[in-house]
C-alpha cells in the first residue's frame, strides 16, 4: 500500500523492464516512423495493418498530427479482425472531426456492423458512429441509436444511452425531443447498468425534464443501490432535484433554518451526542450560525442572478421573497424513500457516491438524522486519500453551518505530517469552527504542537487559528493570550527572518490584537508588554500592529498614557529607518494620540508630530507623503494653535475638528466575525471546490416548481403509472389504458363525415343505420348536437365543413346507391374545388414565420427579414422562393442594397459533400435596390438553392458599399412543393412507401387549447372538433408548403374526443421531385392537449427523417 522505492529497487526495476520490454509494443512507441506506414495500411495481412495502426496510435500519443493517413485508415474499417477494427476506431474517433468528408466513407461499414450478431461489434460501431459527431449523419445515428436502444444486449443499450449526449452535443433542435423520449425509455430499462448510463445522459441532455423521472421515480429509488457506481452519482442528483421540484424542501431539514426558527434545532433527547455538550453548543449555534446556515441554504437554491439581486437588497427576509414551499419529511413518501434508498450508499466504496448521498441527506434529511452523514464523510478522509481535499472542502461548509455535527469528532481533523499544505489549512479552519468549550483544551494543545512544526507557514496558520478560536470561545481567551505572549517572546528571540519565519510572530501579534480587541480594559498589561517589546521586535508588520494597538488603546488605564510620549519620541527618532508600513502606522498613531491629548503632553506631542510630519513629507514613498499632507491639513488646528484653551474654544465647532474627532476618536466597532464573502455551492459540486459557478452549474430547482407542470404532464400523457405520494396530486389513467381505449375504435367504425351544414341530417341518419344499436343512439346524439352547433355557425363553419373525408363520404355513398353517381361527381368536383377554396381561405389566415436576417442594431439601421414563400420559384423548380423585406430604420437614405453569395466561404464548404455536387450558384441574382428612404420598406423575392437542408447558407449583404455577412437558415418545410393528389393516390403512394421509408414520431399539440379558451366567450361558439382540425391544418400549412389531401374523423362516442382524427398532406421534394406523404393522427380530448402521431412516408431517408423532425418540432 505504501511503496517505498529504495535506490536498489529502482535500478532493479529498470533492469527488469529491459527484459520485459521484449515482446511489447515498446519499439513502436520509441520509433513509430522507422518504416513506411502507408504500404502497411494497404497490406493484405491483419498483422501488418495492426502494426501500422499501432504506429499511428503511437504518433497520436506523442502529439503528432497523422490525420493525412485518414483515407487509408478508413478503408480498413471494414476489416473482419476485431483488433484492427478497434485500432481503426481509436484512430477514427481522434480525427473524425477534422476530416469529416472522409469520415463519412465509414458510415456504410458501421451500418453493416450494427446488424452484426456479435453485441460487441454492434456496440463498438454505435459508439464510434456517434463519436464521429457530424451534422450530416445525425439522423442516421439517431435511427441507429433508437434501434440499439431496443437491442437485446444490455451492453449495447448502455452504449446507446451513452450515445445520446453525443447527439445532443450537435445541438440539433429537431432531434431533442426524440432524444429525450429515448432517455425516458432507457430509464425504464430492466437492466440496472442501462439505467445508470441513461441517468447520466439525462443529466447532460435534459436535466430539467422532470416528467421523465416522475414516471418511475419510485422504481428508480428502489434500484438505486443496484445501479453501478457511476450511474448512482448522476441518479442521486437527479432524484434529489426531482423531489425538490415536486414537493419542495423538507420542513425538518437544515434548509428550513432559512426561517431562522429555533425549533429546528435538535431535540434535547438526542441520543448520540453528549447532552451537556449539545446544550452548550446549541445555545451557541442558535445565536451564532443560523445566519450562516440560512446563507448556505439560500445559496443552494438561488442562481447567481438572484444571489446578486439579493446581495443588493439585503433587507428583505428570504422566506418572504421566495415564498419557499416546504413539505414534511415525515409524511412525504417520496422524500422518505429517497432518504431510505440513499442511506446504504453512504457505505459505498466510491467516494463520489458517498459524497452525493451525503448531499441528499444534508439537504433533505431531517435535522436529527443529518448526523448519519458525518461518520461516512470522515471515513472518506482516511480511506481514499486522493479525494481527501475535495471531501474536506465539503466538510468545511457543513461544519461551518452546523458546527455541532462535527464537534465530537474533532480528533479527525488533527494534522499528520503527510498532509499537504492545503489540507492542513483546511483542517485548521474546520477545527476552529467546530471547537467547543469541552474540546478546546485538547485542540489548543494540538495547536501548540503545530507551532513547533518545521513548516513555518503552517505554524503561522496555527497561530492565526488560535486567534479565531479565541473569538469564538471568549472563555479561553486568557489561556490563549498567555500562550501567545510566551510565543511572542520566544519568537522575538529566535526567529530568523530570512526564511519568512517571521510569519509566526506577525500572526501571533495579530491574534493577540484580535483577542485584546474583544475586551480592551482587561488586557491593558498585554498592550504595555507588547509596546515594551517594540525594541526587540524587528519585523515591520509586527511592529506596525503593535504601534497601531498603542494608538488605539492610548487612553486605556493608568500606565499607558504615561509611557506614550516617551515611546512616540523614540519612534519619531527611529522614523527614517523604519519600513513603509511601520512608517504609516507611526504617522497614524502620532496623530491619533495628538488629536486626543490635552495638558502638558500636548506641547511635546506637537513637537513630535510636526517632526514626524516633516520627515514624512520628504519621504521617498508617495503613500507616506500623501498621508502626511492629509494629516497635516486635518490636524492643523492641533499642530499649530497657540494654546490649549484657545484651541478648545475656537475650533470645537469647525469642520476639521469634527472630522478629526470622527476619524480618530471613534472606537473601532467590534468586528465580530469577518463576513462570509463567498458563495456556497451544492455539496459535491465542482463549483464548491473552485469557488465559482462552473459552466453548467445549476442550483437546486425552485421548490414545487414542478407541481403545475407536473399536473399538466400527468393529465396529457397520463404517465404517472406508479401513483402518487401523500400529497395526492393529480393522477390520471395510465397510457396503456388510453391506448386500449383507442384501439377499440376501428377505423371503419369510427370514420364519419364532418359534413357541411346542408347534409348534416343525412349524416346522422346514415351513421344510425350503419352501426349497431347500443352505440348508435349515443353517436347520433353526438352527431346531432354537433351538427346543430355547426348549423348555428355562419361562414366559418361552411369552409370547415368542406374538410370532408373522402372515405367517409364513400361509405355514405355506398349506403345510398341511388345518389352514388351524383355523389361521386359531386365529390370530385367538390374535392377539386374545395382544395382550392380551402387553401385560399386558410391562406388568408396563414402567418408565415418571419425570420430576421439582419437586425437594425447590427446593420446600421437596415432591417432585413425573410420568410419562406409557398409560391414556386420562377427560375427553376430546385430553387426556393423567399420573400425578403428590407426596411430602413435609420434616418439616412441607404443606397445600393443587394444580396449575394458569400463567395469566400462557398468553395471550402465541407458540408457540400453530402448533397449532390452542384456548380449552379446557390442564389439567383437579386434585383438591386438602388436606394431606400428612411422608413421605407421594400420587398424582393429571392430564389435560393440550399445545398443542405439543415445548414445555414452564408450570404453577403452589400449596401452603402459595405459588406455584411448574413446567414440564411433553411426551413425544410419549404423544400417541398404541394403535390395535389386524391385520397386514392395518397393511399397508393403510401402503400408503396412502407417499411424503411416510413418514420413515425409522436408529439403533443396544444395550440388549439388557447383557441378554444379564447372562443369560449363568443356567443357563436365554434365546434371544438372543427376548431381542432382547423388549428392543426393551419399550423401545418403555415409552417410547410404542403397540400392538404383530406381530413378524416371518426364518429366519436364523445363530442369532445378527438381520437382518430386524421389529416393527410402531400408534397413533392423540390430537389428530387420525389413525393412525400404526411399523415397526422390525433388522440385525446379536444379540450386538452392532443397526442399526435406524425407519420412521414418518403423515399429519401434522410430528408424524410428531417422533415418529420421539423414537423414534430413546430407542432409541439
Amino acid at each position: 500500500m505504501f511503496p517505498q522505492f529504495g535506490a536498489t529497487a529502482d535500478t532493479l526495476s529498470k533492469a527488469s523492464t529491459i527484459v520485459s520490454r521484449i515482446g511489447t509494443d515498446a519499439h513502436l512507441y520509441d520509433d513509430p516512423e522507422d518504416v513506411n506506414i502507408a504500404p502497411l495500411l494497404e497490406s493484405k495481412f491483419d498483422s501488418e495493418k495492426c502494426e501500422a495502426l499501432k504506429r499511428l496510435l503511437a504518433l497520436i500519443a506523442q502529439g503528432f498530427d497523422v490525420s493525412n493517413f485518414f483515407p487509408q485508415v478508413v478503408k480498413n474499417v471494414a476489416s473482419q479482425s476485431l483488433e484492427v477494427k478497434k485500432l481503426v476506431y481509436l484512430y477514427l474517433l481522434h480525427y473524425a472531426q477534422k476530416r469529416p468528408n472522409e469520415a463519412l466513407l465509414s458510415i456504410n461499414s458501421f451500418q453493416k456492423d450494427l446488424g452484426d450478431s456479435n453485441p460487441l461489434v454492434r456496440a463498438w460501431a454505435l459508439r464510434t458512429m456517434a463519436g464521429i459527431r457530424l451534422h450530416e449523419i445525425a439522423p442516421i445515428v439517431l435511427a441507429a441509436v433508437s434501434k440499439c436502444a431496443r437491442d437485446p444486449s444490455a451492453y449495447v443499450r448502455k452504449c446507446a444511452a451513452n450515445a445520446l449526449p453525443k447527439l445532443h452535443d450537435l445541438r440539433l433542435e429537431e432531434h431533442s425531443s426524440t432524444i429525450e423520449e429515448m432517455i425516458g425509455m432507457l430509464l425504464c430499462d430492466k437492466s440496472c447498468g442501462v439505467v445508470g448510463a441513461a441517468a447520466s445522459a439525462f443529466t447532460s441532455v435534459c436535466s430539467n425534464n422532470y416528467s421523465l423521472i416522475g414516471k418511475n421515480y419510485r422504481r428508480l429509488c428502489e434500484i438505486l443501490p443496484d445501479v453501478e457506481e457511476w450511474g448512482q452519482i448522476s441518479l442521486i442528483g437527479i432524484l434529489l432535484r426531482y423531489v425538490i421540484a415536486r414537493h419542495g424542501l423538507v420542513k425538518e431539514s437544515i434548509m428550513y433554518s432559512i426561517r431562522g426558527e429555533e425549533s429546528c434545532w435538535p431535540k434535547k433527547d438526542d441520543s448520540d451526542v453528549d447532552f451537556a455538550l449539545l446544550k452548550n453548543i446549541s445555545d451557541m449555534t442558535v445565536n451564532y450560525d443560523v445566519g450562516l446556515a440560512s446563507m448556505v441554504s439560500r445559496c443552494y437554491i438561488e442562481g447567481p442572478d438572484e444571489y446578486l439581486s439579493w446581495l443588493s437588497s439585503s433587507g428583505k427576509s428570504y422566506a418572504e421573497q421566495s415564498g419557499a414551499t416546504f413539505t414534511s419529511g415525515r409524511s412525504n413518501d417520496d422524500v422518505k424513500i429517497l432518504l431510505q434508498c440513499t442511506s446504504p450508499l453512504l457505505w459505498s466504496n466510491n467516494s463520489a457516491v458517498v459524497l452525493a448521498a451525503a448531499g441528499v441527506h444534508w439537504i433533505m434529511g431531517p435535522m436529527e438524522n443529518v448526523k448519519r452523514i458525518v461518520k461516512p464523510l470522515l471515513f472518506l478522509l482516511r480511506s481514499s486519500s486522493a479525494s481527501q481535499n475535495v471531501v474536506l472542502c465539503n466538510i468545511q461548509v457543513f461544519a461551518k453551518a452546523i458546527p455541532f455535527l462535527f464537534a465530537p469528532y474533532f480528533e479527525e481533523f488533527f494534522i499528520v505530517s503527510s498532509d499537504s499544505y492545503e489540507i492542513k489549512s483546511l483542517k485548521l479552519e474546520i477545527l476552529c469552527s467546530i471547537a467547543t468549550d469541552a474540546s478546546i483544551p485538547l485542540i489548543f494543545k494540538e495547536f501548540q504542537d503545530y507551532i513547533r512544526d518545521p513548516d513555518r507557514k503552517f505554524a503561522a496558520h496555527a497561530v492565526a487559528a488560535i486567534g479565531l478560536c479565541a473569538e469564538r470561545l471568549p472563555k479561553m481567551a486568557n489561556v490563549f493570550l498567555e500562550g501567545l505572549l510566551a510565543l511572542t517572546r520566544q519568537e522575538t528571540l529566535t526567529s530568523d527572518f530570512e526564511h519568512g519565519e517571521g510569519d509566526v510572530l506577525v500572526q501571533a501579534i495579530a491574534s493577540i490584537k484580535s483577542i485584546v480587541n474583544q475586551d480592551p480594559p482587561s488586557h491593558e498589561k498585554v498592550v504595555i508588554q507588547l509596546v515594551r517589546s517594540l525594541d526587540a521586535v524587528k519585523l515591520s508588520a509586527a511592529r506596525a500592529t503593535i504601534i497601531w494597538m498603542m494608538g488605539e488603546y492610548s487612553n486605556l488605564g493608568e500606565i499607558m498614557p504615561r509611557i506614550l510620549t516617551t515611546v512616540l519620541k523614540f519612534l519619531a527618532w527611529r522614523f527614517t529607518s523604519e519600513a513603509l508600513e511601520t512608517k504609516l502606522q507611526i504617522l497614524n498613531t502620532t496623530m491619533k494620540v495628538l488629536a486626543d491629548s490635552k495638558g502638558e503632553d500636548l506641547l511635546t506631542l506637537r513637537k513630535v508630530g510636526s517632526y514626524v510630519l516633516e520627515l514624512a513629507e520628504c519621504d521617498m514613498n508617495y503613500d507616506i507623503r500623501d498621508r502626511a499632507r492629509f494629516l497635516k491639513n486635518l490636524l492643523s488646528f492641533k499642530l499649530y494653535s497657540q494654546g490649549p484653551e484657545e484651541n478648545v474654544n475656537i475650533s470645537s465647532g469647525r469642520l476639521p475638528h469634527v472630522l478629526a474627532e470622527h476619524i480618530f476618536r471613534q472606537q473601532t466597532s467590534q468586528l465580530t466575525r469577518e463576513p462570509v464573502n463567498h458563495r456556497f455551492y451544492l455539496p459535491g459540486s465542482l463549483s464548491q471546490i473552485v469557488l465559482h459557478a462552473a459552466p453548467g452549474y445549476e442550483p437546486l430547482p425552485k421548490a414545487c416548481s414542478l407541481l403545475h407542470d407536473g399536473q399538466l404532464q400527468n393529465e396529457t400523457c397520463g404517465t404517472d403509472l406508479l401513483g402518487d405520494g401523500a400529497d395526492g396530486s393529480a393522477t390520471s389513467s395510465g397510457s396503456l389504458d388510453e391506448e386500449s381505449v383507442t384501439s377499440d375504435y376501428g377505423s371503419e367504425q369510427s370514420s364519419t363525415v364532418l359534413s357541411d351544414s346542408g347534409s348534416s341530417d343525412e349524416t346522422g341518419s346514415v351513421s344510425e343505420g350503419d352501426d349497431n344499436a347500443d352505440q348508435l343512439i349515443q353517436i347520433s346524439d353526438a352527431g346531432y348536437s354537433h351538427n346543430n352547433k355547426s348549423m348555428d355557425q355562419s361562414s366559418t363553419a361552411m369552409d370547415l365543413g368542406e374538410l370532408m373525408s373522402n372515405r367517409a363520404l364513400e361509405s355514405w355513398l355506398d349506403e345510398q346507391p341511388g345518389s352514388s353517381n351524383q355523389g361521386k361527381s359531386d365529390q370530385n368536383l367538390f374535392l377539386g374545388s374545395s382544395a382550392r377554396i380551402f387553401i385560399k381561405d386558410i391562406a388568408s389566415r396563414l402567418k408565415p414565420k418571419c425570420y430576421s436576417l439582419l437586425d437594425p442594431a447590427n446593420g446600421n439601421g437596415l432591417k432585413v427579414d425573410y420568410s419562406f414563400s409557398s409560391k414556386n420559384s420562377s427560375i427553376s423548380p430546385k430553387y426556393v422562393r423567399i420573400e425578403v423585406t428590407f426596411k430602413n430604420c435609420s434616418t439616412e437614405t441607404i443606397s445600393e442594397v443587394s444580396l449575394m453569395e458569400d463567395s469566400s466561404k462557398v468553395s471550402d464548404s465541407t458540408e457540400s459533400s453530402l448533397s449532390s455536387p452542384t456548380d449552379v450558384s446557390m442564389l439567383a441574382p437579386m434585383e438591386e435596390i438602388t436606394s431606400l428612404e428612411p422608413g421605407e420598406t421594400t420587398y424582393r423575392p429571392i430564389h435560393v438553392c440550399f445545398h443542405h437542408h439543415l445548414l445555414p447558407l452564408k450570404l453577403a449583404l452589400y449596401y452603402n458599399g459595405k459588406k455584411y455577412p448574413v446567414k440564411l437558415k433553411p426551413d425544410i418545410g419549404y423544400f417541398v412543393k404541394p403535390l395535389p393528389m386524391g385520397v386514392e393516390a395518397f393511399m397508393d403512394n403510401e402503400a408503396r412507401l412502407r417499411g424503411m421509408f416510413e418514420y413515425v414520431r409522436s408529439c403533443t399539440f396544444t395550440d388549439h387549447i388557447e383557441e378554444l379558451n379564447k372562443d369560449r366567450s363568443d356567443v357563436l361558439m365554434k365546434d371544438n372538433f372543427l376548431l381542432v382540425c382547423e388549428s392543426l391544418a393551419l399550423k401545418m400549412l403555415s409552417n410547410a408548403n404542403l397540400f392538404l389531401v383530406s381530413v378524416e374523423s371518426p364518429i366519436a362516442a364523445n363530442l369532445d374526443d378527438a381520437s382518430g382524427l386524421c389529416l393527410r398532406f402531400s408534397c413533392e421534394i423540390l430537389s428530387s421531385s420525389l413525393p412525400s406523404l404526411i399523415t397526422i393522427t390525433a388522440e385525446g380530448k379536444c379540450s386538452e392537449a392532443l397526442n399526435l402521431s406524425v407519420k412521414v412516408n418518403c423515399e429519401e431517408t434522410v430528408f424524410g427523417l428531417n422533415l418529420l423532425n421539423r414537423i414534430v418540432n413546430f407542432l409541439t
Binding site: W347, S387, E411, E446, T494, G684, S685, A694
Partner: protein, 415 residues
Amino acid sequence: MLQCIFLLSDSGEVMLEKQLTGHWVDRSICAWFWDQVLSRGDSLKQQPVIASPTHYLFQIVRGGITFLACTQVEMPPLMAVEFLCRVADVLNDYLEGLNEDLIKDNFVIVYELLDEMIDNGFPLTTEPNILREMIAPPNIVSKVLSVVTGSSSNVSDTLPGATASCVPWRTTDVKYANNEVYVDLVEEMDAIINRDGTLVKCEIYGEVQVNSHITGVPDLTLSFSNPSILDDVRFHPCVRFRPWESDLILSFVPPDGLFKLMSYRVKKLKSTPIYVKPQFTSAAGTSRINVMVGIRNDPGKMIDLITVQFQLPSCVLSADLTANHGLVNIFSNKTCSWSIDRIPKDKTPALSGTLVLETGLERLHVFPTFQVSFRIQGVALSGLRIDKLDPKVIPQRLYKGFRALTRGGSYEIRS
C-alpha cells in the same frame, strides 16, 4: 463529463492523450499545468482539482505518473478523481506496476483500456474482471507468441457475459479444480503521540481482502465475532446492504480473484505496540538528538520491518547520526530514515548524533515529527475476529484460509 485524459511522465512529458468528446482539448494545457507544478512545487501535486484559465483539471499521481483529466463544465469532482484512481489501479494491475516505461511499452493496451473504460467522458466499464475478459493483459505467453509469430491479438472478440448479468463484477463461467477462498485482515495503525508522550489518537484502518477461486457463482456469508467494535465501514459493490443493516453480516457474491471486500475503522484504541522517545538538547549552535525505540505492549507476535523516518528542519545545516542497531540514511532532501527491522532482545535500539544549526541560531526551535512503520504478521491489532465464512451452496471441497497483518499507517511521534 471529462473531455480529455493525459498521462504525464514525472518529467512533464505527455506520454499519451485520449480525447473523449467532441470538445478537443489541446495538449498545451499540459504545458500550462507543468509550469504550475514547477513554479508551485509539490503542493500543487497534491491538489486534485485545479482551475486553469481554460479548463478544470483533475489529477492524481501514481508511481511518478500524473493522470490528468480535463473538463469545462460542472461535474462531480470526486467522480473524476475516483475514475482516475480506477484507471491507475487497472493499469497497475495490467502492467504489474506503474512507471513511465511500462506505460510507453504498452501504450496500445493503455489506449484500448481507456477506450473501454470511458465513453464520451463518462465511465463505461471499470470492473477489472470484465476488462480482463475484453482486453487480455500482456503476459509471457502472448509476448513470446508475438515475438515468434509476429501477431497476437489481445482484443477479445466476444462480449463478457457479466455485462448483462445482475452481478456485473463476476464473470459467469468460472471453473476451478480446487475451490479455495482466502480472507486477509490487513490493518494499519494510525497514531499520534504528542511531545509529552501522551497518546492523542490511536486507531486502526483495516481492509478485508478476499482472494476467491470458486467454481460457478458462489454466494458467501462472512461474519465477525465482534462486529460492534467497527466504527466505520465501506463495502465493495458486491456486498448486500440489507443483511449488514439488520445483522451485521456480510453477504456477497465474490468477484473472481483478489478484491477488497470492505474497509473499516476501529477508533479510540488505548495502546500502541512500539514507543519512540526522541530527545533534543540544544546548546551554542548545535543540537544533540537522541532517539530510543522499544516495544511498549507486546502484541504476541514478532514486530519486524521497523523503520523510523523524520525530516530534519531546514535550519539544520548538517547532521551526524549513528545508531547502535540498524541502518541510518540521510537523503538529500534532509529526510532521515533509520531502519531497525527487529528489536534485538539484548539491547534497546538508540539513535544519537549532533545537528549543526544555521549560523545565528542558538538553539533548535522547530522539531521534526517521527514517522514509524512496522509490520506484525499474524495479528490484527484492532481485535477484530472473523467468526465464520460460509458458502450458501456448499461445493464439494472449499478450502478456506484466514490471515491477519498489521502495519504502521500514519504512526507519528511529535517531538
